[in-house]
Symmetry: C2
Subunit: 646 residues, 2 copies
């Protein structure tokens, strides 16, 4: 890899400021490449100041510290076709310090991708230039702004190019020094070195000042450098305002082989404007006198840079994707849904080359290991680093793949912010959580997901699936592959009976009346493990000529409102909800939300896990929590005969 060496295109006409309150300065054109970079750096600062001044808010000082670093990158090293953001060989530029968005937008303006008029719409309603970068803009692939998210996604994008879809692109990530305090970035540093991602270059903008004070390590560049070297990175500590040093560091970074590279740059927050430069108290604030600041920076420039074209690489891939031959299971046999997940995923991988799988070092529990056995080149061991795992999934999605990430369901709570940010990033990823609820058994509450449905329901555009049997699981795995957004699939640890024939069809947003009669007086709304308990209860009740139907709400979000209303109408509004989850935010909340405005007078008994469980067998714990067949039986009876209080 060498630097592209494409000459910069620039125009330095002394123009008029578009922002009426600001003055104009006429400049001479730069005489050398280094002077161009310095001028471009000033332009990026000026435009960051102009945009934030027009917005009345934003982070100009955090943009100004990294302006020289990004100027040299844009002019000499970034290989990107702004007219074709979907070119699969484009470099990737991620602002992990998303609050420096004015700098990113100024850079887009310098590249001619956005006009000056749009630049000044920053932070306005309807503008593509949001306060923090988002895919509202075609050149932004993920949303950033939650520190520590962008870098791990960058690792995922770089990993894709080193493995399933070899590409010549480089991933550039701008990281703030405050952000270095986030554990998630150390997961990323660990993984990037492990995977030998020499196509990844990180720029750490060490401007010393966080939001409320100095960072933990201030300007001790060697603090960062030693840590990063110990993590296996090639490290270049430099003065982040010395464009020649920046150029040398980039040149050396792209020549680095076998390991990722990081430029640790000492910078000044608010660089170039004395009123704010290296001064605390100016984080996230418009400059006190933007007009004077622009004058101090030498006025507005009009440099235009045409970045180098992407390196030559293969055309966009079209993945072979025929219908999977899903595993089937015989009704009446026993099979854990987590195992069916693994078997279905492996089958899906056989007919779809776009499917990749990753696991948090529990692939023998989630059964993603079956995919790993069948398709080792498309399986990624992410070790016990759930945030990096989700970020890798997002990175693979950015590259057009179809990722499935798995772990114990409880441990996705470790990555909730990343899941939230994946949704804001408009990513389509699939997450399979095993070991749901008290049905997990002896391991105790730390291993039991009892909040996962609440957590995943409250993700924008998410889908939440909770299959009760193996055939249903297999079908839902296949549907998840083509489902947009964040799709969550909850599986159960223990073997459960196969209750649906292999030919049964299921759909996202669907449900299944799994037990019903003409005489039903109560609807039991269940999902996953509790479907089996509900069927047991219904059979027992029928012996006493009490008839209750069981509605399997395997699609918790979106939920099958129509089927719910039909059932409730048929059963006089009598409803038992039963779930292996805390009472908040789970199945019952989803059900009540769906039917609340139906006008039906309801009688509801909610069964959920209220007390903190301990260890025990699954059966003991389902009983202790009051969500087993006996509890359902009693709840149904209490609705039929209110005097028979359970």
């Amino acid at each position: 890899m060498t630097s592209p060496g494409v000459a910069a295109v620039f125009s330095l006409a002394g123009g008029r400021l578009d922002h009426p309150t600001m003055t104009t300065t006429t400049l001479s054109p730069p005489r050398s490449r280094t002077e161009l970079w310095r001028e471009l750096g000033q332009q990026l600062r000026v435009d960051s100041i102009r945009a934030t001044a027009a917005a009345g808010s934003g982070h100009p000082t955090s943009a100004m510290s990294a302006a020289d670093l990004m100027a040299v990158l844009l002019d000499k090293y970034l290989r990107y076709d702004f007219d074709r953001p979907d070119d699969p060989n484009n470099d990737h530029l991620i602002f992990s310090k998303g609050h420096a968005s004015p700098l990113l937008y100024a850079l887009y303006a310098a590249a001619g991708a956005i006009g000056d008029e749009e630049l000044l719409t920053l932070r306005r309603l309807g503008s593509r230039l949001e306060g923090h970068p988002s895919p509202a803009l075609p050149w932004v692939e993920i949303a950033t702004g939650s520190l520590g998210f962008g870098l791990p996604v960058g690792v995922g994008i770089a990993l894709a190019a080193k493995t399933v879809d070899p590409r010549p692109y480089r991933v550039w990530v701008l990281v703030g020094d405050s952000e270095m305090a986030e554990g998630s970035v150390w997961e990323a540093f660990d993984h990037a070195a492990f995977w030998q991602l020499d196509n990844l270059t990180v720029v750490v903008d060490v401007n010393r000042l966080g939001q409320s004070g100095e960072t933990m390590h201030g300007w001790h560049l060697m603090s960062y450098a030693e840590r990063l070297r110990s993590f296996g990175w090639e490290v270049f500590p430099i003065d982040g305002h010395d464009v020649e040093a920046i150029d040398e560091a980039y040149a050396a970074a792209i020549e680095t082989v076998g390991r990722p590279s990081v430029i640790v740059a000492r910078t000044l927050k608010g660089k170039g404007v004395a009123a704010v430069e290296d001064k605390p108290g100016w984080h996230g604030k418009v400059l006190p006198d933007p007009e004077a600041a622009i004058v101090e920076l030498g006025g507005r420039r009009h440099i235009r840079i045409a970045p180098a074209a992407p390196s030559a690489g293969p055309p966009a891939r079209t993945y072979m994707a025929s219908s999977p031959v899903l595993p089937t299971y015989e009704v009446g046999t026993q099979k854990a849904t987590r195992r069916a997940y693994g078997e279905a995923l492996a089958a899906l991988g056989s007919t779809r080359e776009d499917v990749v799988s990753m696991d948090g070092e529990v692939s023998n529990s989630t059964f993603s290991g079956l995919f790993a056995d069948a398709h080792p080149a498309r399986f990624f061991e992410m070790f016990v680093a759930e945030q990096q795992m989700i970020a890798a999934a997002v990175g693979f999605d950015v590259r057009g793949l179809t990722p499935f990430a798995s772990a114990f369901a409880a441990f996705f709570s470790r990555a909730y912010d990343f899941i939230r940010m994946a949704a804001i990033s408009r990513a389509s990823i699939r997450i399979a959580g095993s070991h749901a609820g008290v049905a997990t058994g002896e391991d105790g509450p730390s291993q039991m997901a009892l909040e996962d449905i609440a957590m995943f329901r409250a993700v924008h555009g998410s889908t939440v699936l909770y299959p009760s049997d193996a055939n249903q699981t297999a079908k839902l795995v296949a549907l998840a592959a083509d489902n947009p957004g964040v799709t969550y699939l909850r599986t159960t640890r223990a073997d459960t009976p196969v209750i649906y024939p292999p030919e049964a069809q299921f759909e996202i947003g669907g449900s299944r009346l799994v037990h019903a009669s003409l005489h039903d007086e109560v609807t039991i709304a269940a999902a996953g493990i509790t479907v089996h308990e509900a069927i047991k209860a219904a059979l027992r009740l029928a012996e006493d000529e009490i008839y209750a139907r069981v509605l399997d709400l395997y699609s918790v979000k979106p939920i099958d409102r129509e089927a719910l209303l039909d059932s409730l109408t048929a059963t006089g509004g009598r409803l038992v909800t039963v779930e292996d989850h805390w009472p908040q935010g789970g199945l019952a909340d989803a059900v009540l939300d769906a039917v609340a405005d139906s006008g039906l007078p309801l009688q509801v008994v909610k069964l959920a896990v209220s007390d903190l469980p301990g260890s025990g067998t699954p059966a003991e714990l389902l009983h202790a929590a009051g969500i087993d067949a006996a509890a359902i039986d009693a709840a149904v009876r209490s609705l039929i005969d209110p005097l028979a209080i359970p």
Copy 2:
């Protein structure tokens, strides 16, 4: 600090195995301290095997790797009075690798804290010996089992002894090598060095094998050692089965001044039993032939160790805690609830010495900075490390303090697993999240908490508070201080009108009918920012002689069911819920959950944030989301006259 030098007490009578399927071996008493350690290590292994065999599940091999390390610790270095677990000067021993619980319980048995009969109740329903350690046992202060949680809490406990409550104790944390992949441990390593916690010693059990395969770094001890040194730790790489080396490392660790110390120990998973030793595939599994394994280990021992007494230190502190003189605000003035939070917290700190505050480097946004200004010795800057912040709060709670942790509400999603584990740990901590909802404005969706209510509701035993005005905020801050469990307080970025007089009283579980008449036809259920929108709507509607009441549900969990039912009864079951949150898991779900079984026929309109917001002013975004006064107005009208669809 020197080693206590207390002679070990042991009894090595050749006893009978309590577990009937196992054989007995008679042993000679150990002849030296080192032989005692070796024997004790074998005893801990044998007892780990016995307990897991009796349970039929568990993690014997992960216990066996660390047995020698814990044997030397128990006999010579741990200063702990098992009869007085509440002695404030006791050392703290945390198994961050919680799955090694059989080793911890075997150690308690060796110390005489639990009997052999109880040891064999491991993982049974009702046993205090859960699959992963929990405070069901008096010597366990936090629950572990979610890797990467125990160490950061240990940092918090060590930090307390170095700051607000100086104590001679040492914090010992056993960490697994798989766990070193979690970003959260690197937050802990970073902070421990920053705070110079030389009262913290970590033992990393590098047994090379994770659950499903080899760890990222295998037995490359120097990989770990170099990283830890670069993070500022004193590092002792040793053979974790060489008791003399272990002894030397502990001796050097406790002499280390000015920095935390870590022993990086090369060990063998399943050490001592050939069938499983250093073999993959034996994670979390009972040994294939426990009886033969015990014979191979030399049979059962009966060594009893009386650990050294805690170092001399001050008696338990009683904190001065008189009623706070809370700030008051004049009705009709404007004040952001986040600012009232800071002012109330600072006031609370003035009369309560037990109150400590910590922030994720945004104290000038959350206004915890006001507490920092008033009580600098009790404020802790946790930088942008939300997991370490929550863990520190848990650690302070362990030490009897009253922690308040604050950050942007959205960023607590980064620490959701830690919050979940705090609840399982029976910790009482208070979390204040600012910048809630689209009312955050221009910063865009990455900075807007829209899932936080769902997330915090689904935490065991949690309380969720969402004040609408400054006086209410102040009162709720004071109530939060004495509230058990995880208490979440959601605050708003923008100034909002003060609507309650300073003398108004509020309570956890309460609500406030803030606008009502005798003619009300609709109940508007609101909280926080939407209370103000609801009042505006009600006033506007009244001009058209449409009467709606506004119920301020500032206590979202527990929610005031009685007031809701009263209001709904008074308004014919017509209900508008309005919240600055995703539609899932928030206020509306809480309301419907409370009233679903009331038997009241309901007509409900739910207003919440459905579409992904962008940037804009708070007013623009409230309007765009359909949760402002205009939307509420239309919703109320639609309930009064169903033909007037909004």
